[in-house]
Amino acid sequence: MDFENHAQRALDTATAKGAQYADVRFGTTRDEHVEVRNGVVAGLSDAESSGFSVRALVDGNWGFASSASLDDDEIDRVAALAVDIANASRAVQTHRIELLPAGKFIDSYQTPTQIDPSTVSTSSRVEYLLNVDKEMRAVQGVTVSRSWIDVWHTDKLYASTEGSRIKQSLVQCGSALTALAVGDGDVQDRQYPGTAGLYQTGGYEVINDAKLLENARRAGEEAVALLTADQSPSGTKDIVLSGDQVSLQIHESIGHALELDRVLGWEANFSGLSFATLDKLNTFRYGSDIVNVVCDMTCPKALATEGYDDEGTPAKSVDLIRNGVLVGYMAGRDTAAAANVGLAGVVRAEYWGRLPMIRIGNVNLVPGNATSLDELFDGIKDGIYMESNRSWSIDDKRLNFQFGCQIGYEIKNGKKGRLLKNPTYAGMTPEFWASCDAIGDQSTWVAWGTPNCGKGEPLQTARSCQGASPVRFRNVNVGVGYGG
């Protein structure tokens, strides 16, 4: 495809129709998926999609249109439609959308990979998952075994009336397994790795790193053992969360709360608002002194890492929480201008045909000093270790939360004890993070990816990362939902 000519045609049409600013994104995605369920291949798919979209700013109003057709007529129609849509919004215009400059970039970016996924045949992926599945089903009592591998390729081209021309080629891979056991009036499941699997940018090495085969039998055994495990207790206890559970805690109670569009009310109807309002910037105590969180779009391996976001802002690292104090937001060009803050490079669309919006990037908890889980257990007289998420719920300003995990262990006098099922914990975001008194070190830190974050109307999914280590929290309300 002649990117330069097509892009220029779209931008010229939008400009001629009255746009003061326009950008155009051409994209191609290819998603390869292999899934095995109970010994049979339940999903073997290879989906490709391509098209383009135009975003136009006309007298302070946004318009956006997209199409799967890629000929000149359609480029003209879509570019003109974007401007018409923007003009229609004048009917209720009380606010003029402005843009912070992103700069002019003529550049390209490619995800670094060690093993090109195309060198690993689909048949070998199938064979690997069938072996993983066999391991799970070797455990008596496993009712459903499921495992899958995803390989995602994204090629995208961005051009703007400000002169940027950016080509990017991204590769993201992930894999996971889940073992489900059904008992009398009870269902227990164990997933691995973590909650959603291991999803990162990179080549097939990401799937090799997950080590599904080595962990499949253990996951099955744990699912079955949970059916007869004691119920996790209710009350107030010290807890240690596994790194993947901390990742989800960050996603829900920090990541979403610090999306500037939510803070400004742009997501009020659906995703909600945020308790972390602008007046709290640089003063609000979000957590204890050891809590440091960054949004680092350059983080190696992290699932959201790319060279530029979908409005031409280069990847960068932005401090969100420093020594427990709120110091930053994830902002896009329009929201940053409205709130007078800096850009984060996190405005992304699900694919070429969707409107770019602020999405959680790589929101990482900076590692602490604890060298192992045992060190985190030290000093806990009576607590619970919880691993891997089973349910997650938080209010629409990101304050009141309740999370359930798949598996728990009693902690008595600093030692890991008996197995516990259905562990849950609940709290209010700032109080919870204020109770954090120990964080695992770099050796325990993983760039956990979230492949399916939902936001926006119409709903878009996005891929984010929350790098985390295991963390200890004091005096937490546990057991809610099971009598607590």
Partner: protein, 447 residues
């Protein structure tokens, strides 16, 4: 001129025919889904996002013996179609045999009538009409000294299926929706509308409902956690039933034993006043008369007068479990198995107003948020209330309440409930408000 695979039936069928003709598989299925989706979002009483998205996808399922593979593309020239067919076949040849796979379904005969589902005026609604609807919402908000956030949407969709065993289906439908969250200094109120015809929606009336709720809920008070008589309005009840559909009303969850219906077909599971159906043809619903394998959708009773009756089946689970195919397949491949997408709950006898009037002390829930499963077999969920929580005292709504978290068994709640008499569409479901006794609120939040 670009081909529009959303509206052009001839072109859609041509693409399906090319796919079938190009295939060397034992059996082949070609599924085309196209949509033009328009949505205008507003907040702070102005439009901040507005868009039209047009896309389509051709998905080809190739079958070789008892093996199958799926490939898809949105490039629909002859070469690209031949390419996707070849990829699907390559996938199928890589898959091990699935002894339970029965092959693709054949033509299962005529469709039941789901009513007139395509309104051209809705399908082609211009951005100016959506903006005017926002303007009428904003006028109500200004009169009420509030601001609103939400959306006005319209869309048209095409689903077409052909397979090598003679199935040929094409269906086009339109839909529209308005969502309003009215926001005041200390409270918010919610209203929504869904209709096949945009002109059947009344943005001003919906805005008045949302504004009234926001104003009535001003300066909310804290309610102590505990068990209360609760009335869930349809948008809140819909989330409960949507979750129940997903975890329990499909043949896969029945088969694997994780559904509360497993082993209980024919037995009482809910109150005798509860009947839950799946009915694509309800006039308030979307009216799509076949599933994603082209099989005619059947109207089924899932729970009838409290008795567990049936779940949704597709061709795979119908063959595996020796049950009639009810026409509830999702697009292949998927992890969920067949699911009912058009839940309809039979109404009760009292109006919502009468039901409120009958509550001595209780809580009215307008909308829920972030519901997640706590315990699958016991159907325990947790979630938050939002955008309109009210205290009912002596049959009257007396004040707004700060939002609460609940932990509640859906099936347990439907064993101690009363259903209201008016049916309302919420998303793709049609249902009344519901009164539930001893509803379990476990904590509160700050707003």
């Amino acid at each position: 001129m670009a081909v529009d695979f959303v509206v052009d039936q001839t072109e859609v069928q041509r693409a399906l025919d090319i796919a079938l003709a190009a295939s060397k598989a034992d059996e082949t299925e070609a599924l085309m889904m196209g949509s033009e989706s328009a949505l205008t979002r507003y907040t702070h009483n102005y439009i901040h996002e507005s868009m039209v998205e047009r896309n389509w996808q051709l998905s080809v399922r190739a079958v070789v013996g008892k093996r199958s593979g799926v490939a898809s593309t949105n490039r629909l020239d002859a070469d690209s179609i031949a390419g996707v067919v070849a990829r699907a076949l390559e996938m199928a040849r890589l898959a091990p045999e699935d002894q339970d796979f029965p092959g693709l379904p054949g033509d299962a005969g005529p469709l039941q009538d789901g009513g007139d589902a395509y309104d051209a005026a809705t399908a082609e609604l211009p951005p100016e009409a959506r903006a005017e609807a926002v303007a009428s919402i904003v006028r109500v908000m200004r009169r009420s000294e509030l601001y609103a956030a939400g959306f006005v949407s319209s869309r048209s969709d095409t689903i077409a299926i052909a397979n090598s065993k003679g199935v040929r289906r094409f269906f086009r439908f339109a839909d529209s929706a308005i969502n309003i969250k009215a926001i005041g200094p200390s409270s918010s109120g919610y209203a929504e509308g869904h209709a096949r015809r945009f002109n059947d929606l009344n943005p001003e009336a919906l805005a008045q409902t949302a504004a009234r709720k926001a104003n009535e809920g001003a300066n909310p008070e804290v309610l102590e956690p505990g068990k209360y008589t609760v009335i869930l309005e349809p948008p809140a009840f819909r989330e409960f039933l949507g979750y129940l559909s997903w975890i329990a009303f499909g043949a896969q969850s029945l088969d694997q034993g994780s559904s509360f219906m497993s082993g209980k077909i024919g037995q009482p599971v809910m109150g005798a006043n509860v009947t839950i159906r799946d009915d694509f043809a309800n006039p308030k619903g979307l009216g799509v008369p076949f599933d994603f394998e082209g099989v005619p959708r059947q109207r089924i009773a899932l729970v009838e007068r409290g008795i567990a009756r049936d779940v949704a089946y597709d061709s795979y689970y119908a063959a595996k479990l020796k049950h009639a195919n009810t026409g509830h397949a999702l697009p292949a491949p998927n992890s969920y198995g067949p699911l009912p997408l058009n839940i309809v709950v039979d109404p009760g006898s009292r109006t919502l107003e009468d039901m409120i009037a009958s509550v001595e002390r209780g809580v009215l829930v307008s909308r829920t948020w972030y519901i997640r499963l706590v315990d699958q077999k016991q159907t325990v969920i947790t979630g938050m209330t939002r955008d309109g929580l009210f205290l009912i005292q002596n049959g009257r709504i007396t004040r707004g309440l700060k939002n609460m978290r609940f932990n509640e068994s859906i099936v347990g709640a439907l064993n101690r409930c009363e259903l209201a008499s008016e049916l309302v569409r919420s998303e793709s479901h049609v249902l009344p408000a519901v009164r539930i006794e001893d509803f379990n609120f476990t904590s509160g939040t700050e707003f």
